[in-house]
């Protein structure tokens, strides 16, 4: 009985409708939270005693980095569900998430580089977090590359699902080995603010940005998911009904 909603989620026309209706519920709060977070972080929060105003890029960098990992996990979980229960919609979720996650990763790298530049004097340092993000970007690119190498969508789904699961197991391993590597050489590692704890005025906008980015991902995922479903089901009969204005 409890499984019926799960199985209904697996039906493409149902998902198409639900995703369409749900999107504004995620998009508007996301926009509100991000605007509020940016105002709070860029304008209202006090400057850091060590880094001055330069730290403010944290409000974009930290949520981006967080999302890059969260999206990969979501992708892997969806892929695993698709693999085990043979749900086409789960595979569509994984396919739709990948480019979003890759974009977050890229954003994290760019903002991280911009953040460090004034302090390092160069645009790149082999900081453990940046290095991990770079490797994560390669994992995303590999996943998307593997998908695109197959003409048959079903096989692309299932093969890339195995890769996603293998990748998600490896992400913690890679992360800790990079930290270990970095600790050997005492390379500069910035990005952590002077204080061990942040005051509420700094923390609140950060949390708003985090939640806002998560909702933003949700909204974009739903939009892309509808596109994926349409493309995969293009020969099905329910499409004409669904697209009627």
């Amino acid at each position: 009985m409890a499984w019926t909603w799960f199985h209904r989620l697996g039906s493409p026309p149902h998902i198409y409708r639900v995703a369409g209706r749900l999107t504004p519920w995620l998009a508007w709060p996301a926009a509100a939270l991000i605007v509020a977070g940016l105002i709070g972080g860029l304008i209202l929060a006090p400057p850091d005693y060590q880094q001055g105003d330069g730290y403010r890029i944290l409000y974009v960098h930290a949520p981006s980095a967080w999302m890059s990992l969260m999206v990969y996990t979501t992708m892997a979980v969806a892929a695993a569900i698709g693999l085990i229960w043979r749900m086409k919609v789960a595979h569509a979720v994984a396919a739709a998430s990948a480019p979003i996650g890759a974009s977050f990763t890229f954003a994290a790298l760019v903002t991280g580089s911009l953040w460090g530049a004034p302090m390092w004097g160069t645009y790149w340092q082999w900081d453990p977090r940046l290095t991990s993000e770079l490797i994560l970007l390669f994992l995303y690119l590999g996943y998307m590359g593997l998908r695109s190498a197959f003409d048959d969508v079903q096989r692309a789904d299932r093969v890339s699902a195995v890769l996603a699961v293998v990748g998600v197991v490896n992400v913690p391993i890679i992360h800790y080995s990079v930290i270990w590597w970095n600790s050997l050489h005492q390379a500069p590692s910035v990005m952590y603010l002077g204080r061990p704890t942040m005051p509420a005025s700094m923390l609140a906008p950060l949390v708003m940005m985090l939640v806002g980015f998560t909702l933003f991902f949700g909204a974009v995922l739903l939009v892309r998911l509808r596109g994926e479903v349409l493309s995969r089901e293009r020969t099905a009969t329910w499409i004409r009904e669904a697209l009627r204005p």
Partner: protein
């Protein structure tokens, strides 16, 4: 206290899509002991796909395949242990001899004596070429070597994809004879063919045609 061992391969309402292409559309078939079902049809109608679905390599979106009354997905390893599948190309390594190929190919599945291996090779006329590397053999000889492996496996279910490819008239008679022996021992065979197999008992031979749409 017996368990029913009526070897019977059944396919019920089998549907399979390859991308947008609905290859198998509600296919039904049943092959019992001592029967050989020939699948005919033009290229691209799904004969190979049906064979691969029947042996469990391909996963159908709808319907099920049963062997001896049980869904093949329940215990795939046990099901595979009872079948032999011969695809378009004989599964032989070019750098090994025919004898060595059979030793590894069938040896992974069951233990057998060297005499059995010799017998299987002699049955297909392989005395002269069994110990030469497979890359030096003709296509017909390779096909015969594959058939030797088939008989060596001693399994009740044979799934054959165009078994007479590259064989001369004598070779085609050989295939018919091997299938005859298999059927007489109570085995089941499912074969995709372009020409009728030369099996001696015509009542054991059934035909099913696959078409587009």
């Amino acid at each position: 206290m017996g368990v029913m061992t009526d070897f019977c391969l059944k396919g019920e309402n089998v549907h399979l899509w390859r991308g947008d292409h609905h290859v198998l559309r509600g296919v039904r078939f049943e092959v019992g002991p001592g029967e050989c079902l020939q699948l005919t049809g033009a290229n691209g109608t799904g004969k190979t796909t049906l064979l691969r679905t029947a042996c469990g390599l391909a996963y159908p979106e709808g319907g099920e395949i049963t062997w001896c009354g049980e869904n093949i997905r329940k215990d795939m390893h046990a099901f595979h242990a009872q079948l032999a599948y011969l695809g378009h190309e004989p599964p032989l390594k070019a750098e090994l001899t025919a004898r060595e190929n059979l030793h590894y190919w069938v040896g992974v599945r069951r233990r057998f004596d060297p005499q059995e291996l010799d017998q299987a090779l002699d049955r297909v006329g392989g005395e002269h070429w069994a110990d030469r590397p497979v890359r030096t053999l003709s296509a017909g000889q390779k096909r015969r070597a594959a058939l030797a492996g088939l008989t060596l496996m001693r399994v009740p279910l044979w799934l054959l994809d165009e078994p007479t490819t590259n064989l001369d008239a004598e070779g085609q008679t050989l295939v018919g004879a091997l299938i005859d022996e298999h059927l007489q021992a109570g085995g089941v065979a499912l074969a995709a063919v372009h020409h009728e197999l030369s099996v001696s008992a015509p009542e054991a031979l059934r035909r099913m045609e696959l078409t587009f749409g």
